[in-house]
Symmetry: C2
Subunit: 327 residues, 2 copies
């Protein structure tokens, strides 16, 4: 059995609650931002939050679910505990059509969660407890599984933990030895700040397809303008996909540049997952052998679907949406 | 005496009047569009219009005035009559710092004018009578003058008249024989429709620097998306500058692509002249030896100034605005 894409990332369940405005200040949260929290704060904050809804998330997991929705054969590597949120995560990702073989841990930290407090102004304040997902290690990277995927896709967030870093490196080396391709999403501007030198090295030596938004790519090369970053990234890896929200995206190789418009959206409800789903569309197009322009338009289409509703996974079958584009 | 840029185009004076809404229907005008009218209709319409203001325009003339405002040494070739509007045009372009040596015609059609009816919704309905500007002929193209400009810039609108077409061809050939460069603005989507085959040939064989907006460039190559046009134009001429309104611009050569953001504007008042002034900034940057990214940013800056007020020529010295950018 071969996969088109295998994803690797933090397996996270989002817990979304509507909170009154003063909740953010009372609990000293970073309004509108994403912040890592520890077990103790996660427990305390979760107890204080009003009843919420759970939905499976995690950046690379969203991407992989998106590729499945487009009709691709995909697998995901990310760690959960044998607890209730772990069951939610595993159920959702399998229900999305993703092959998920990782054995849940039976001790240590619980399943990762992102506690999202939505204030009356519709702003999301995110508090992520990484839990057991931090323990993703080289031993979780099954050599046969990774070798069986045409492409291995990793999220940059993993780079925050040394053992997960080794897991990425091992995975990418397996992929390349097997003649497959690798992809990396830079994930977050702060993440790039923390690991700039290592990311530059990774992009040059181990990454074939890079995903980055404007903040991330200008931070990576420490330049002021998008165009300067564009000049740096050309040829630094095989393909770079630079996403720019409503300005669309730019795809760069050593020999080609494609400028792709954002897909029209009637009303932007929640931008969470836009980058994840862009990567889904692009990678699915690449796996299916479409030209880079079409891959980019498929990315824009998938991103447009996910920002038109709450939550970071598609609500309709993306394969149906993509039919007019792919003919 | 050498010039950095010599411009060639229709020398037009804009006549702007505020009209009541029903004026557009009563006089059978094309609301919001640009339409060519004949002498008889021009006389009739001008008589019917309320008192207005005159301001010198013409696409290439606006560009040349913009380069002068940036500090470049420029000259302009375009035909006026020895009438009142001809005096207005010559006065304004000289007052803008442009060398203008063309002798006014003393018979035939009067000076070209664009009768602009502004309705209460701030929309501009344009009615252009080309008058004597249509008579621009090879004999108006002074060989010594054209040879003395590092670049000859022509507007596509000229291509509508056979004798002006010969004038462009003669000018471009003189420029190339003298080792100078040539530039063409496609001017208008309808203009491209009318002359597609000839424009394709011109771009391939005689044009070094091409300016086109999204409608024009997709029409030129008869493609649906901006990205497809981008792939066609790469290498078709030395440098292509593709402007995209609020999406900024893309500069394409055989080996380089630059993606340039629009310069921020507090309030867009009137977009007339945006493309003309982008060309001014870009060409001035090119003449001064700046890299293509900086040329593009200079184009965005000049376009931003002109759309922040009524009228198609800069209201402040662009050289001052450009100082922070050029250091």
């Amino acid at each position: 059995m071969r996969y088109s894409v295998i994803g690797m990332g933090n397996a996270i369940v989002d817990v979304i609650s509507h909170v009154p405005d003063e909740f953010v200040d009372t609990h000293h949260l970073d309004r509108g931002a994403m912040r890592l929290i520890d077990a103790e704060e996660a427990t305390r904050l979760y107890a204080a939050m009003p009843p919420g809804i759970e939905s499976s998330g995690g950046s690379a997991a969203n991407t992989i679910a998106g590729i499945a929705s487009l009709g691709g054969r995909v697998s995901y590597i990310g760690k959960v505990r044998n607890d209730q949120l772990g069951e939610v995560f595993a159920h959702d990702i399998r229900a999305a059509g993703v092959d998920y073989q990782v054995t849940p841990g039976d001790d240590g930290d619980p399943t990762a969660r992102c506690l999202i407090a939505v204030t009356p102004d519709a702003q999301r304040t995110m508090n992520t407890f990484l839990g057991i997902s931090r323990n993703l290690s080289p031993s979780d990277v099954d050599e046969d599984l990774v070798a069986s995927g045409d492409l291995l896709y990793c999220e940059g967030y993993l780079w925050d933990v040394d053992v997960a870093k080794e897991a990425i490196t091992k995975g990418m080396d397996i992929a390349h030895r097997a003649g497959n391709r690798t992809a990396l999403a830079l994930s977050d501007g702060f993440c790039v700040e923390r690991h700039r030198a290592e990311f530059l090295d990774l992009v040059e030596h181990r990454v074939d397809v890079l995903f980055a938004n404007e903040v991330e790519i200008t931070s990576l090369y420490e330049v002021d303008t998008f165009d300067e970053a564009l000049q740096h990234v050309a040829g630094h890896c095989e393909i770079a996909c630079l996403t720019r929200s409503e300005k669309g995206s730019v795809i760069v190789t050593r020999d080609e540049v494609h400028v792709i418009d954002a897909h029209p959206v009637e009303r932007v409800v929640d931008t969470t997952g836009a980058g994840d789903l862009y990567a889904a569309g692009f990678l699915h197009g690449l796996a299916e052998g479409f030209d880079l322009g079409t891959c980019g338009r498929l990315g824009s289409l998938a991103a447009a679907e996910v920002i038109s509703h709450l939550g970071a996974r598609p609500e309709v079958r993306l394969a149906d949406l993509a039919t007019p584009l792919l003919g």
